[in-house]
């Protein structure tokens, strides 16, 4: 095994800058996609537990659809297929005027995919509550909306906070798939450094270290938040 070591390339121009911008894009894609996933996933998760069969059915269909197609295929669908089959004015807008098209597509694709995963956790969180809670609410004469707003969601929220943060780490790792549609995030940049400098070992080590560092930071922040949350009754 012959290999020409040179760790100094990592702090040389332009490679250091590539690593920094790569990390920036990775964080930007992850954070934006996570926000979509949490908001949409929560709505879909709640919808799946509603007494209205029709709404619950549509929400379940969403979850099944988005978790049974590989994320990479979904990204390709959003990037290559969606602009062609959407109504013409929208397709034109995406192709011509959408700012940062790769970034936006990656965020939407990753966000909608992760929303399906979040919805499963929200649904499980709501279903883990004792049925008596909702029944007591209805017995008080509360409407469905009131039961969710004042009883189920506040309690379920406590249960799903830890999975939400775990989900951020999943999005964070999955954001590397954005490289397939041309987002120069961290994994893409490490690959590019490896191609330009032939110092693959150093490039991949740097990316690996950054991923692990951020994962550990988020995990530490996570346990801090969890300790501050009130205990589940």
């Amino acid at each position: 095994m012959e290999y020409n070591w040179d760790w100094s390339i990592l702090v040389q121009e332009p490679y250091l800058w590539w690593l920094i911008t790569g990390t920036g894009w990775t964080l930007a894609v992850s954070a934006a996609a996570w926000c979509i996933a949490v908001v949409l996933g929560t709505l879909i998760g709640i919808a799946r537990t509603l007494p209205n069969r029709f709404v619950a059915g549509i929400a379940t269909a969403y979850t099944e659809l988005f978790r049974n197609v590989p994320l990479l295929v979904q990204l390709f669908l959003w990037y290559f297929v969606a602009p062609e089959i959407l109504p013409a004015p929208m397709g034109h807008w995406i192709k011509r005027d959408l700012p940062l098209p790769e970034f936006a597509t990656a965020v939407v694709g990753l966000g909608l995919y992760t929303a399906a995963r979040v919805s499963i956790q929200v649904r499980a969180g709501i279903q883990s509550l004792r049925r008596g809670l909702a029944m007591a609410g209805y017995a008080q004469g509360m409407t469905v909306a009131q039961v969710y707003r004042h009883i189920l969601l506040p309690v379920a929220f406590r249960v799903v906070i830890p999975p939400f943060t775990t989900e951020f780490l999943t999005v964070f790792k999955n954001s590397s798939l954005a490289l397939t549609i041309g987002v120069l995030e961290l994994t893409a940049q490490s690959g590019q450094i490896s191609e330009y400098s032939f110092h693959s070992f150093e490039a991949f080590t740097a990316a690996t270290a950054i991923y692990i560092l951020i994962t550990m930071t988020v995990a530490a922040a996570m346990s801090l938040v969890e300790r501050r949350l009130p205990a589940v009754a």
Partner: protein, 217 residues
């Protein structure tokens, strides 16, 4: 102009070959990953602190890395270590196996922990050795408990194999992409790919769900 359906039918042998490679990769990685994970889980649960920490470090390391980066790593490392180029299939196989083993370890560990401790004590009390109690008492029950999760992870693994796209290994998605680009039919071919993946994964997950219901009783 060929219709989309004709194009799919005409390139079917090529696409099926790709699908075959995806399924083969899934199968080999599942078997290799589970065997490796079994060892890692036992190390993790062993009384030996050094071994247990080692296994935990392995699992945490691979669980905090994106799969694509792992694929890149081994695409570069494997030929370097072996000293000659070996196609991307073997480097992908190694990358996936090592990566998936970390994820399977958590499932198997939870499965072993789900067997009540009294089972182990009873096995020890009847004079079984550690190995015997694992083989005849703990593992059979643990595997029954974790089969649904292992199968679900298998479906996720099948979806993940599409990532070999980044090293141009001709799995199903890469084959679809080749046809799509050659014929300029990205829209219909990618929709076709999504439908095929969905059909396989949906049917498989229904099957796991049925199995789970039967097993729980």
């Amino acid at each position: 102009m060929m219709s989309d359906l004709q194009l799919i039918l005409q390139s079917l042998p090529f696409l099926l070959e790709g699908l075959g490679l995806s399924l083969l990769l899934t199968l080999l990685v599942a078997v290799g990953g589970i065997l490796m994970a079994l060892v890692l889980a036992l190390l993790r649960l062993s009384g030996n602190r050094a071994l247990s920490t080692l296994a935990a470090t392995y699992v945490n390391f691979f669980r905090s890395m994106p799969l694509i980066l792992v694929i890149f790593w081994f695409f570069f490392l494997v030929p370097l270590v072996i000293g000659r180029p070996v196609g991307s299939f073997y480097s992908a196989l190694i990358a996936f196996t090592l990566f998936e083993a970390a994820h399977y370890t958590e499932i198997i560990r939870a499965g072993i922990l789900s067997v009540s401790r009294g089972q182990g004590w009873a096995a020890a009390a009847t004079g079984l050795t550690y190995g015997q109690s694992l083989r005849y008492v703990i593992l059979p029950q643990a595997f029954r408990n974790m089969t649904p999760l292992l199968l679900t992870q298998g479906i996720i693994l099948f979806q993940d194999t599409s990532l070999v796209f980044v090293v141009s290994l001709s799995d199903f998605l890469t084959s679809v992409t080749i046809v799509a680009r050659n014929e300029g039919r990205l829209v219909s071919m990618y929709i076709f790919a999504a439908v095929v993946y969905f059909a396989i994964c949906f049917v498989a997950s229904r099957f796991v769900h049925q199995f789970e219901k039967k097993a729980v009783r």
